[in-house]
């Protein structure tokens, strides 16, 4: 039983016009290309084999690469992460899927006490290049435990890199970069954006994995968003433009590390900022963003940094989630609370 070295052609050549892909499709293409390039990349988790994952991200991988590279594991998240750690210790680069955000909690100890700390515990002698893919956040009418935004648990853990793409181009490239990284990466995939489609050029990545991107320029306000709320921020910017309010939108992309440089440059220009996320507000990632950006840019700020977030309640049932999720209208209403 050995891992054959696959020599499949990459998903597409650079001479062609870039194919349009959904976020889910782009993620699958990234997995396929990474597996073609490196025989050590293996994919396992719940339903990732013949079914292709409940969101079809791994569709076709088992057929193409065989069940020694892509396989269904027993249904146990600590087991998935714990065994991925052992595989990485033995030279593989596992990419595992934890089916839904709240289903990652059984793996909390393996992630926080082992995956995140192994390098530190061993004085740098053990490197764990493991990627944990987690479909996260709401907006798809999921029943309970299927819509959590759990990013703050991971960003609060030294040793982890935490990233989240908001679109197919970043989906492809950030996953390639995450798999290539020697650090363990929590890769948060916004479920509500899985079906967003756009051309995905495969010639070079749009940015390094640890950088935020300014995706709309503006002069009056900086909106900081990530994953599912990037669309919310862009929608808010469109609406605001009708009222001659010029909004700059930054897609944070990397939650840990945080791109102080890109965010600081924008905030010093606009002197106002707000951060948007689906997760509850108290103790959430937005609190860190607001504190950090304020500490570093206080004398450039004209107003306190706002947080437009979910309420401090458990994620609601499908018929109530529209009242919970931050909307473009809620963003604009929040900006109105500032003295201008």
């Amino acid at each position: 039983m050995t891992i054959a070295h696959h020599t499949d052609a990459p998903t597409e050549t650079t001479a062609q016009a870039p194919a349009s892909r959904t976020l889910a499709g782009a993620l699958g293409a990234a997995l396929a290309d990474a597996m073609s390039e490196d025989a050590g990349v293996v994919v396992f988790g719940e339903d990732v084999g013949p079914l292709g994952g409940v969101f079809r991200v791994t569709d076709g991988l088992a057929a193409r690469f065989g069940d020694e590279r892509v396989w269904d594991s027993p249904l146990a998240e600590a087991g998935i992460v714990g065994t991925a750690i052992g595989m990485a210790m033995n030279g593989l680069r596992p990419v595992v899927e934890l089916q839904f955000d709240a289903f990652s909690y059984p793996a909390f100890e393996q992630i926080t006490s082992h995956l995140a700390k192994m390098r530190n515990r061993t004085r740098g002698r053990v490197t764990l290049p493991v990627v944990i893919r987690i479909p996260y956040a709401g907006g798809i009418g999921g029943v309970e435990h299927h819509s959590d935004s759990s990013e703050a648990y991971w960003t609060h853990t030294p040793g982890l890199t935490v990233v989240t793409p908001s679109n197919p181009v970043d989906g492809y490239w950030m996953l390639r970069q995450a798999i290539a990284s020697d650090d363990p990466v929590i890769f948060l995939e916004p479920k509500s954006r899985y079906w967003m489609k756009e051309p995905v050029p495969l010639d070079r990545p749009p940015a390094a994995l640890d950088r935020a991107r300014v995706i709309r320029t503006g002069t009056d306000v900086t909106l900081l968003a990530y994953g599912p709320t990037v669309k919310t921020a862009l929608d808010a910017a469109e609406l605001a433009a009708l009222e001659d309010l010029s909004i700059e939108v930054i897609d944070l992309r990397s939650l840990s590390p945080f791109d102080d440089e890109t965010v600081g440059a924008s905030v010093r220009k606009t002197s106002r900022a707000a951060v948007i996320h689906e997760a509850a507000q108290f103790g959430g990632y937005g609190a860190e963003v607001a504190a950090r950006v304020t500490e570093r840019n206080f004398f450039h700020l004209a107003a306190p940094i706002l947080r437009i977030t979910g309420f401090d309640v458990p994620y609601p049932s499908p018929k109530l989630e529209e009242f919970y999720l931050p909307t473009a209208e809620r963003v604009l209403a929040a900006l109105d609370t500032w003295e201008w």
Binding site: P74, G82, G86, M87, A88, M89, E109
Partner: protein, 366 residues
């Protein structure tokens, strides 16, 4: 099916056990048993020495394995050089048996760094403190070995208390489903800190659990190193041949407290401890070897000398004050350098240089 009574090859009097107790396992050669006996004596001297150093305050804590030498050394010695060991905090003498120097083992318990030895050099994972978590790492390592076509097996130690953890269940199940080359050695030493076995499990034996996972299970006299060595050797060979995992329960006893901060008089009787003292694993194999003519006074004296030398090395190592670099705090967190950590490192460096800082604001206004 595991046997009803523990498999044993040498009984508590040092006499070859009845055939019906052996589970079909053959007695190891006297030469092997002598080598194992040597390692047990040295390991116990180390354990006693480290416990003494801990009472003197040289170490922050030390979980002793005194009384469990047959399990620790019998299982570890069965490993081939290419095999990997996934130990817990109680398995320091297993590390010693695999050639890790005392200072590299004890830096952890002295509080220098969480794990001081080179895992790849010794093929030993860092000792884990959270229970049963390392069992999954052992299964994962073995799975990778299987996928890569390596004839490598992994062995992990668990305690009786650890079998109550979910990670133990997941490790047993993943290993069985994936047929990984993994051997689980459960040292049932009677107590999880203060909680007796009866409060951990209603299973007749822990080895019985193997049936439910679909793997072989063996219930072994954990104070008989001949039995432990024979059973683990067989399980490892089976694993390397691609026949999958095995669960082994060694019935033994933790003679010392859980750690130096524990008070066992609060939860167990002296009578109970004394009943186990006469079942001592070292005395048992020693009696057997003497009766077989394989151990004489001169060899015993040589082994005792070797043990004393190791104790002296251990004392010397723990008398040295290590020079720790506080800036190393930042060195091993990420493979990819982070500017935010560089800032915090610079802050600490400045503090260490004696500069006065007004706050712990690591960023400053930019």
């Amino acid at each position: 099916m595991p046997t009803d009574r523990p498999i044993r090859l040498i009984d508590e009097h040092g006499i070859r056990a009845d055939e019906h107790r052996t589970g079909g396992f053959a007695m190891p050669d006297a030469g092997i048993l002598l080598a194992l006996y040597r390692r047990m004596v040295i390991a116990r001297r180390f354990d006693v020495q480290v416990s003494a150093l801990t009472r003197q305050g040289r170490l922050a804590t030390y979980p002793s394995a005194l009384g469990q030498e047959a399990c620790e050394i019998g299982a570890t010695a069965a490993l081939a050089d290419a095999d990997w060991l996934f130990p817990t905090y109680r398995d320091s003498i297993a590390l010693l048996t695999r050639g890790v120097r005392p200072v590299e083992i004890l830096s952890f318990f002295r509080g220098d760094w969480h794990s001081a030895f080179d895992p790849a050099a010794h093929r030993i994972a860092p000792q884990t403190t959270p229970l049963a978590t390392q069992a999954l790492h052992a299964v994962g390592y073995a799975m990778a070995a299987k996928l890569k076509g390596e004839a490598t097996a992994t062995l992990t130690f668990l305690g009786d208390g650890a079998t109550s953890e979910g990670d133990a269940h997941e490790a047993f199940n993943f290993a069985a489903v994936w047929q990984t080359p993994t051997v689980f050695v459960i040292q049932n030493n009677g107590y999880a800190i203060s909680v007796p076995f009866e409060k951990q499990s209603r299973a007749g034996t822990l080895a019985d659990k193997a049936i439910g996972y679909g793997m072989p299970g063996h219930y072994v006299d954990g104070n008989d190193i001949a039995a432990v060595y024979a059973v683990v050797t067989d399980a490892l060979e089976r694993a390397r041949r691609g026949r999958g995992p095995t669960m082994i329960e060694g019935l033994t006893y933790r003679m010392e407290a859980h750690t130096n901060s524990d008070d066992p008089t609060r939860y167990r009787t002296d009578d109970e401890v004394e009943r186990w003292r006469v079942l001592d694993p070292i005395a048992r194999v020693e009696g057997y070897l003497i009766a077989e003519g394989a151990l004489d006074e001169r060899t015993r004296a040589e082994i005792a000398d070797e043990a004393e030398q190791l104790a002296a090395e251990t004392r010397q190592a723990m008398n040295d004050s290590p020079r720790l670099d506080p800036l190393e705090l930042f060195e091993h967190v990420y493979a990819t350098p982070r500017s935010s950590l560089a800032e915090q490192r610079a802050y600490l460096a400045e503090e260490l240089s004696g500069a006065t800082l007004g706050s712990n604001d690591t960023g400053g206004l930019s």
